[in-house]
């Protein structure tokens, strides 16, 4: 009896819920997707607060700290809880001329929250030098190197954090552009049908049949080399989204085709609604969730595109810092043999791609709550 009541209450709730609520309930069940959402939010937080999170200036070079291995934080000392790192002393091996670093126990550098470091513009609004954490009282060349340093002595952790900003936003910008193109062309294609549809669909097929890497290489090589880093950055975004829009256009077109025949659309038509009203008031909301899912699946592709282009030396170039550029630094044999920690740049790439894919998966399932 009581079960039936409960069931009834549940189905009542179900029947009264808005589509957004339904989607959310469905999405919540996909544990991996929820976890991925958290990861992605963290990634974007890192991207937004990149400079505040980076303890060292990502561009500052110092040969005396070249190729420092990852460094651990010591949490306690004799006086109790006192997070600190040791100063490092680099000594050259007389036989191989390699710099070997040994911690100097006499030189203790306390690690503190909200420490002062290099100055930067927060949100491009005001200048500050407060960083989430950092060492206090370090001399020039001293600092905390959680993931070690590269050949020029730049702190890898700081560079990774700053690279996150470039790599994630280039993906976001690329997807936005793709979305615009995709919804526009897909919508036209699905709505009007006929020769317009055929033309757009054939263009999509031709674009998709071209292997992407050579196409990008050709386009990237055509960028004038007098362009500044920012111009290159924008151009790369456009190049990447040139391919990205096709997938979205297909999704949108498919939804348009199926929705066109739905009763509620016919009803709206009969009620005399204008075409724009039908599209934006009735049709779009019913497939927006699908578009969001498609977008979240397109994002990782964008990020990988930027990474691979930059890795091949065709995308962004120094002093811009992106995941691809960091990986490019890890291309040489010294790194593979002597400084494998530089490969750490691959980890955020993998994490971000996986998270976006799981999120997209979850969203796609949730997008159709009645299914």
């Amino acid at each position: 009896m009581s079960e039936a009541v409960l069931d009834h209450a549940a189905s009542e709730r179900y029947a009264q819920a808005t589509q957004l609520q339904l989607t959310w309930w469905r999405f919540r069940k996909h544990k991996l997707a929820v976890a991925s959402l958290v990861v992605i939010i963290l990634f974007y937080l890192v991207a937004i607060f990149a400079d505040a999170l980076a303890p060292n200036d990502p561009h500052a070079t110092d040969a005396r700290r070249s190729f420092i291995p990852p460094q651990g934080i010591h949490l306690f000392d004799d006086s109790g809880f006192n997070p600190h790192v040791y100063g490092l002393r680099g000594v050259r091996d007389p036989r191989t001329f390699k710099l070997a670093y040994a911690p100097d126990p006499a030189r203790k550098l306390p690690v503190r929250l909200f420490a002062n470091g290099y100055s930067y513009d927060l949100f491009g609004l005001f200048e500050t030098d407060i960083h989430l954490f950092g060492v206090v009282g370090g001399n020039r060349g001293e600092g905390i190197f959680l993931l070690g340093t590269d050949q020029l002595g730049r702190d890898l952790f700081s560079r990774l954090v700053v690279a996150t900003r470039v790599s994630l936003f280039i993906g976001l910008a690329g997807v936005t552009l793709s979305l615009l193109l995709g919804v526009l062309l897909g919508g036209i294609s699905g709505l009007y049908g006929g020769w317009v549809d055929t033309l757009i669909q054939r263009v999509i097929e031709v674009l998709r049949s071209i292997p992407t890497i050579p196409l990008w290489m050709g386009l990237a090589a055509a960028l004038p080399n007098t362009w500044s880093v920012t111009q290159i950055y924008l151009a790369i975004t456009i190049i990447i989204s040139l391919i990205g829009w096709t997938e979205l256009a297909r999704v949108v077109r498919g939804r348009f085709l199926s929705l066109r025949e739905e009763d509620f659309v016919v009803a709206a038509e009969l009620a005399g609604a204008s075409q724009l009203r039908i599209i934006f008031r009735h049709m779009l909301p019913s497939f927006a969730s699908h578009v969001i899912a498609a977008v979240s699946l397109a994002l990782p592709a964008m990020i990988v595109s930027e990474t691979s282009l930059s890795f091949l030396g065709l995308g962004l170039r120094p002093p811009a810092v992106s995941w691809g550029i960091l990986l490019q630094d890890a291309q040489n044999i010294q790194v593979l043999a002597g400084a494998p920690w530089l490969l750490a740049a691959a980890v955020p790439v993998i994490l971000a791609i996986l998270a976006f894919n799981f999120l997209g998966d979850g969203l796609r399932d949730a997008a159709d709550p009645y299914g």
Partner: protein, 673 residues
């Protein structure tokens, strides 16, 4: 005699310099050996009488495709006493190159085509193609004695006519040689080449030219045969195979027929066809005099050279050289790949592109990959030099700044060379200006190494304020004087020679932040970068001044004098080379004075010439035409990976431009155990 003494002094000094530079660290490492090279036997009574040849040639002789070895060798032999012992024939020397722009890689291996050559110290002239030379008492005439019976690689005799042919029919043809070679012009007056007999020629000048034989031996536009002939489609050199090439000249074949032939071969003019025909890297029909001849061109995956059956040298036992059958240069996408393959033991001898920064890895892999590592110390002032181009054409403001001594000095003072030395030279180099090692007679003295070349951002900032760059933007970068945009310099890096040039430039960009100078690093393929350099489209290029340790033989990286170089102001170089007929006259009086000094030195005898060189170096440092970074190290072709199987390889070899590294180690007498 004086010359020999000088050579010994240099030798002793060389070892001394090594200790001084590195505090004995290098000596202790066991990686620096004794400077040595095989001796030449010049006494004809000690010449071998019986000759042997490589099995691959003996086979062809038996098949009747080649005459016997005794008939192929010249009467005036070049006899080499192998470094450790007589070797045996066979094998392939595996090596790496990085693409069609890497011509120098092969040119150096063809150095047996030079009229004269140097000993291992780079100071004493030795016979090469010519068995001897004399300079007249007044210095106006240099006579070369060619080897009687010398033959091209196709068997045709090589005589004085081949030299006259080049001089009269190629050199004077404006389509092939647009600008005369500076070496063949003295005080604006051209040289005359006279044939004395079938095997003697004389170069005559209106004024004393004591320097001339050194130029024939050095790495100059005239210091060789067709290895000089592919410099940007200009046929320099000093002789050419008349029997093969004359057919492609309009003076021997009607121009219409030649043009038709050129069109059929995919060229638009006869001159292009001719330049292809005399390009040894691409045209395998072209006869050579070098130890190996090209059998597979440079624009392929494997650039292959094979022994020249008519090579003019034998060892002390009468074996025709070279011992090694074949040189196989494998294409590597970039210098990094060359290093990788070297570490994996895939090369038998590689010094080019080997990165000093990888020394730890190179040392650790010696046993596993079966090679021995050698370090050869350089004599030139700076392995890396920033060359600001005052002739830059694309931006007037930047050209005006680069043309000001104080701006260049500020750029120089803004660089922390100690940092570069630590990061890229493993602390083994010497930071400083462009001047050569103190031990050389051309060095102006110790104080010139540090002049304008110490890290002093405060001084640099004062200098920059002084040239009017006082306004700065929010981030502290200086603004241009002509508009209010940020001043942005660009450092061009050619992808060649040093794999760490891009990173070095990036570090310099960081140092310049302190003096408010913004700069970008642009990495380009070598030939593209140099082509842009030759049309003055480069602002600053990072290059080396390797070669300038012998200023007169290779002044192109000390002063803008060579329009083919493409790293220093090209308009000035053209003006110098054409004697003011073309190009732009340098507005800086110091540059004009340096040009005049260089011109005068040609007629001076040795001691006076050295003093002139010191004056030129002082001007170069004072004016910072080249901003020297770190030098006197093994960084530039001085890190050498040698297979354990390779014998007769010197413990240490001269790595100067004019010693044509690795030719100074005489590869023709190396052999595989």
């Amino acid at each position: 005699m004086r010359r020999r003494e000088f050579g010994i002094a240099v030798l002793a000094g060389w070892a001394g310099a090594a200790v001084a530079q590195t505090g004995g660290e290098l000596q202790g490492s066991g990686l620096v050996g004794t400077l040595e090279s095989p001796a030449l036997i010049t006494d004809p009574t000690r010449f071998p009488q019986q000759f042997q040849e490589a099995p691959m040639l003996a086979e062809q002789v038996r098949a009747g495709r080649l005459p016997p070895v005794a008939q192929r060798l010249p009467q005036d032999l070049m006899v080499i006493q192998p470094l450790r012992g007589v070797g045996k024939y066979g094998g392939t020397w595996r090596r790496g190159f990085i693409g069609p722009g890497d011509s120098e890689n092969g040119n150096r291996l063809m150095s047996a085509d030079k009229p004269l050559f140097f000993d291992e110290t780079g100071t004493k002239i030795l016979p090469c193609l010519a068995r001897g030379f004399e300079v007249s008492e007044d210095g106006r005439r240099t006579t070369l004695h060619l080897r009687r019976g010398l033959r091209w690689s196709d068997g045709t005799p090589c005589t004085a006519d081949d030299w006259i042919f080049w001089f009269e029919e190629i050199y004077t043809n404006k389509d092939l040689v647009p600008a005369p070679a500076a070496e063949l012009t003295l005080k604006g007056k051209p040289a005359r080449l006279v044939k004395l007999d079938e095997y003697s020629i004389a170069f005559e000048f209106d004024d004393p030219y004591f320097l001339f034989p050194y130029l024939l031996a050095g790495d100059t536009l005239i210091g060789g045969g067709h290895t000089r002939q592919q410099i940007e489609g200009r046929a320099y050199g000093i002789y050419a195979p008349k029997h093969y090439l004359q057919r492609f000249l309009p003076s021997h074949t009607p121009v219409d027929a030649l043009t038709a032939e050129a069109r059929a071969a995919g060229f638009s003019t006869w001159a292009q066809l001719f330049l292809f025909k005399c390009d040894w890297r691409l045209n395998r029909e072209l006869p050579t005099l070098a130890a190996w001849r090209m059998v597979q061109p440079i624009n392929t995956q494997q650039w292959v050279l094979e022994r020249n059956p008519y090579y003019y040298a034998v060892d002390s036992a009468g074996n025709q050289l070279p011992y090694i059958d074949r040189i196989q240069m494998g294409l590597a996408e970039n210098p990094e790949v060359v290093n990788l393959r070297a570490i994996a033991g895939e090369y038998d001898y590689q010094e080019r592109f080997i990165d000093l920064g990888k020394l730890p890895l190179l040392v650790e892999n010696q046993q596993r990959s079966k090679y021995k590592l050698h370090l050869d110390l350089g004599f030139n002032g700076a392995d890396s030099v920033l060359f600001p181009n005052p002739c830059y054409t694309d931006d007037r403001e930047i050209a005006a700044l680069l043309g000001q001594a104080n701006f260049r000095r500020a750029l120089s003072l803004g660089i922390d060379r100690e940092q570069l030395n630590e990061a890229f030279w493993l602390g083994l180099g010497t930071p400083g200006s462009v001047v050569p090692a103190e031990i050389l007679p051309e060095s102006p003295g110790k104080e010139w190494r540090t002049r304008w070349s110490m890290h002093d951002p405060a001084h640099a900032n004062r200098l920059l304020d002084g040239v009017g760059l006082t306004r700065k933007d929010r981030e502290g970068y200086r603004l241009r004087r002509d508009n209010s945009q940020r001043l942005r310099l660009e450092i061009t890096v050619a992808q060649t020679l040093s794999p760490t040039w891009p990173q070095q430039s990036e570090m310099i960009v960081q140092h310049w932040r302190q003096i408010g100078i913004a700069a970008d690093v642009k990495v380009q393929e070598r030939s593209l970068a140099l082509t842009r350099g030759r049309s003055d489209q480069i602002q600053i290029i990072i290059w080396t001044n390797n070669g300038t340790e012998s200023l007169y033989l290779y002044p192109r990286y000390a002063l803008p004098v060579d329009p083919t170089a493409g790293v220093m102001g090209n308009a000035y170089a053209l003006w110098f080379a054409s004697n003011g007929a073309r190009g732009t006259e340098p507005p800086e009086p110091e540059m004009r004075r340096a040009h005049a000094l260089l011109r005068d030195a040609a007629g001076q005898r040795e001691a006076e010439r050295h003093r002139t060189a010191q004056e030129i170096w002082k001007l170069a440092v004072e004016q910072q035409w080249g901003i020297g970074l770190v030098g006197l190290s093994p960084a530039f072709m001085g890190v050498r990976v040698v297979s354990d199987r390779l014998e007769n390889v010197p413990g240490r070899t001269g790595i100067s431009q004019h010693i044509r590294t690795p030719w100074g180690a005489h590869p023709e007498q190396w052999y595989f155990r």
